[in-house]
Symmetry: C2
Subunit: 179 residues, 2 copies
């Protein structure tokens, strides 16, 4: 069903700007990617073939990275969510640290600006498993400290939204930046 025929393309084409119809298509597909192209076109104000053609283009251009089933973490026994700040000696992004990507508990790895070097999002079965994961992280050369923020409740968690807030009326008390 997918066109994974060529492994040649560098997977990111000269990304043209998305128009309003593309945004509407993305909005529907982010919400529910199981709709038929007929319904997709209907919801986005396009014919089925037009919708299909545009979605293929969105996939080829990389605007749609993938279509994925979103799993309930509790169903796969990972009820514990934590954000781990990792402080390192020297530059944080080492191959050794990246090796933790292989653990399915690790969902995100970012380097960040602020009072820490790296930021991880991890999901584990319980505090014991989190402790084990932290132990592994501490074994990585260069890792100095970690600070973990364990999620007590999650009130919102959703994929990247295509919509953008149109205008931010700057608070009146805020000075105007020159850039």
């Amino acid at each position: 069903m997918d066109e994974e025929t060529d492994g040649i393309r560098p997977s990111r084409l000269p990304t043209r700007e998305l128009d309003a119809a593309d945004r509407r298509l993305l909005g529907v597909l982010v919400d529910d990617a199981t709709v038929s192209y007929a319904e997709l076109g209907e919801r986005a104000g396009l014919s089925a073939p037009a919708a299909h053609e545009r979605v293929k283009r969105l996939r080829r251009s990389g605007a749609i990275r993938q279509t994925s089933a979103i799993i309930d973490p509790k169903a796969v026994r990972k009820p514990l969510l934590a954000f781990v700040h990792v402080d390192t000696r020297g530059w944080g992004k080492t191959p050794e640290l990246m090796a933790i990507s292989k653990y399915p508990e690790v969902e995100e790895i970012h380097s960040v600006a602020g009072d820490t070097c790296m930021l991880l999002k991890v999901r584990t079965e319980d505090t014991r498993a989190l402790e084990g994961l932290l132990a592994r992280i501490y074994e990585v050369p260069g890792v100095v400290t970690t600070r973990s923020y364990v999620a007590l409740s999650t009130y919102l968690e959703r994929p990247v939204q295509p919509g953008a807030t149109k205008e931010w009326p700057a608070p009146r008390h805020m000075a105007q930046p020159i850039y």
Copy 2:
């Protein structure tokens, strides 16, 4: 294509434990939810109808929350990712704070344990838009401080993985917990 016929069920059934075949199905669908049931069954070692039946069950039970298109943030002009720690006076989870859910820039809202109350994951077009969002957050009654961690690079970002690390061989220097 979807069975959203009844709005009666509380959307979380007595979740039975997933077996190995369910895990395999989830593994395939997290990676690519566009596969046909024929191919899905093949990859998971099941016939197409069996795969279909199990996937329907996984959807009904809530183990599969939704099927979603994963969008490239850059394609929708949100290249700037930030994690915002919000400190509040009193209890953080107020309806006023939750109101920021309506901004598509806000992807996650968690209450956390640690030296902050709430943790947000937000994506904006640029630093100016982030500033505007922070200004909105500061306008929420009870918000005292925010600390933002702007992502410099993202090295890993993926959906909830069905797999679990089997055994964590506890480092030898670590004392055994009684629980």
